[in-house]
């Protein structure tokens, strides 16, 4: 036996696992080889020291047990996988009381699972909101679906008309139209509350217009009367002037026909409005009547 073979068999030799012949060879080599003898002794002592290590475990550091218990009985009482499995039942509210306590304990201690649970709650809330606010369906979608499924471009004209009507109705239900309709309704309400009805409103408007027209007529008439009076005064003044001139000369017959040729000649004599204005002329009236009587006689 050489040193290499001795070293290869060393463990078995120490453990007594060699057959008697091999053991005898090793023992013989150990006696003649100092280096292998020393190695044999060192390995034997080393194995004994290792065995002693296993027999006398050192104490674990202080607080390690508490750390382990804290990280298992509270934080990991329920593994995250178990937590995931229970989530659905948790949201359905069908977790039994003892499991629920464990679930709560894990939820309080595990940040990841807490974040997951909060995220799911938020998502459920958002879904609820989304459910309440429906998005308008595009008008052409129906046709597209029909085309994609049964292969037809569109249905009969009745169907198309119906879908057009439905789309129009949907468009009417748009927010802008709704606001406009609300404004119109408010105005109508104000009108009705003020006048009772729309027909009453037109009636009162007619009355108003009628009274305005009447007032306009009266104004026009009074203005006309004033104008007429002014004209009569002017013509009367002219007549007076002419008659007074005729009294002094014989040109009276030519001028006497003038009043009859006036536009207002149909009226026999101007009607004085104010006696005070006519006072100076009233003194001449007997002369004029006399002159007229003479004119008629000459005409006959």
């Amino acid at each position: 036996m050489n040193c290499v073979k001795f070293q290869d068999s060393l463990s078995d030799y120490i453990e007594g696992a060699l057959d008697p012949r091999a053991r005898a060879e090793c023992a013989a080599h150990r006696l003649i080889c100092g280096e292998c003898r020393e190695l044999y002794n060192d390995v034997r002592v080393t194995v004994q020291a290792l065995n002693a290590l296993g027999d006398a475990d050192g104490d674990e550091p202080e607080g390690l047990r508490d750390r382990i218990i804290a990280s298992t009985t509270t934080g990991e009482m329920l593994s995250c996988g178990e937590f995931d499995k229970l989530l659905e039942r948790y949201f359905d509210g069908v977790i039994l009381a003892p499991t629920f306590q464990t679930f709560q304990s894990h939820f309080e201690n595990c940040f990841k699972c807490r974040r997951l649970l909060n995220g799911i709650e938020e998502a459920i809330g958002m879904l609820q909101e989304a459910k309440e606010t429906e998005v308008e369906v595009p008008g052409s979608l129906h046709d597209r679906i029909v085309a994609a499924t049964v292969g037809r471009v569109s249905s009969s004209w009745i169907g198309r008309a119906r879908s057009a009507l439905v789309n129009f109705g949907r468009r009417l239900m748009s927010p802008q139209v709704a606001v406009a309709a609300m404004i119109i309704a408010l105005i109508s309400l104000l009108v009705i509350s003020r006048f009772g009805s729309v027909s009453n409103l037109t009636t009162s408007a007619e009355h108003k217009v009628e009274s305005l027209v009447t007032q306009g007529h009266q104004k026009i008439n009074s203005t006309g009367a004033m104008a007429r009076y002014g004209f009569q005064r002017v013509s009367y003044g002219v007549n007076t002037f002419l008659f007074s001139g005729a009294a002094h000369s014989d040109s009276a017959p030519t001028s006497s026909s003038k009043p009859n040729g006036e536009p207002n000649g149909a009226r026999p004599t101007p009607q004085p409005q104010r006696n005070s204005d006519l006072a100076p002329e009233s003194a001449d009236s007997p002369k004029r009547d006399k002159h007229r009587t003479r004119q008629n006689q000459s005409g006959r």
Partner: protein
């Protein structure tokens, strides 16, 4: 264990008290660092807790099941760290270790503790594949077949690694002048 699975925290605490020391020591042998061993022990217990429903009392007693699981987890961690050797044996001293305490400190407990520390330091200097075999065989005192089952390597390889590991460790301890004091 049945109570543990039913959510009985007192029963679980009892399991932790009973096995934390063994698991911590196992972790320390493989990591060679107190801090790493603590973290690893905690991780092992968390994994054990999550695997409680896999425990079958018919297949063996709790200690065997728990320690087997713990060993597997520790070795997984050990092999992972061997692939990325960043924090291995940082707080274990080098060859300067010698038994000054033997003369300075009359306390046998302190002496034993110091020696154990030196042996751990020597173990940490072993090649990783040799180290895991030596630890499992000479400290954990598993049979060859148990080591084969854990490491998933042929029995010939296990035997060969144990033998080489022992010789290597003895040489390291001699260089550290520890072996003379053992």
């Amino acid at each position: 264990m049945r109570r543990c699975r039913a959510g009985d925290s007192a029963a679980w605490e009892q399991v932790v008290h009973e096995y934390s020391r063994r698991v911590f020591n196992l972790a320390y042998r493989f990591t060679g660092r107190h801090e790493s061993a603590e973290d690893l022990t905690q991780e092992v217990f968390v994994r054990v807790y999550r695997s409680l429903d896999q425990y079958d009392p018919q297949a063996g007693d709790l200690a065997n099941w728990l320690m087997r699981l713990a060993r597997n987890l520790v070795i997984d961690d050990y092999r992972r760290r061997c692939r990325t050797p960043t924090d291995m044996g940082d707080d274990i001293g080098d060859h300067e270790y010698h038994l000054e305490s033997r003369h300075d400190a009359p306390d046998r407990g302190v002496e034993r503790f110091e020696r154990a520390k030196q042996v751990h330091a020597a173990i940490s200097k072993l090649q990783p594949d040799l180290r895991e075999c030596v630890i499992l065989r000479d400290i954990e005192e598993l049979t060859y077949q148990e080591i084969v089952d854990i490491l998933k390597i042929p029995i010939g390889t296990v035997k060969s690694r144990i033998n080489r590991g022992r010789i290597e460790l003895a040489k390291i301890l001699r260089r550290m002048k520890v072996v003379e004091t053992l």
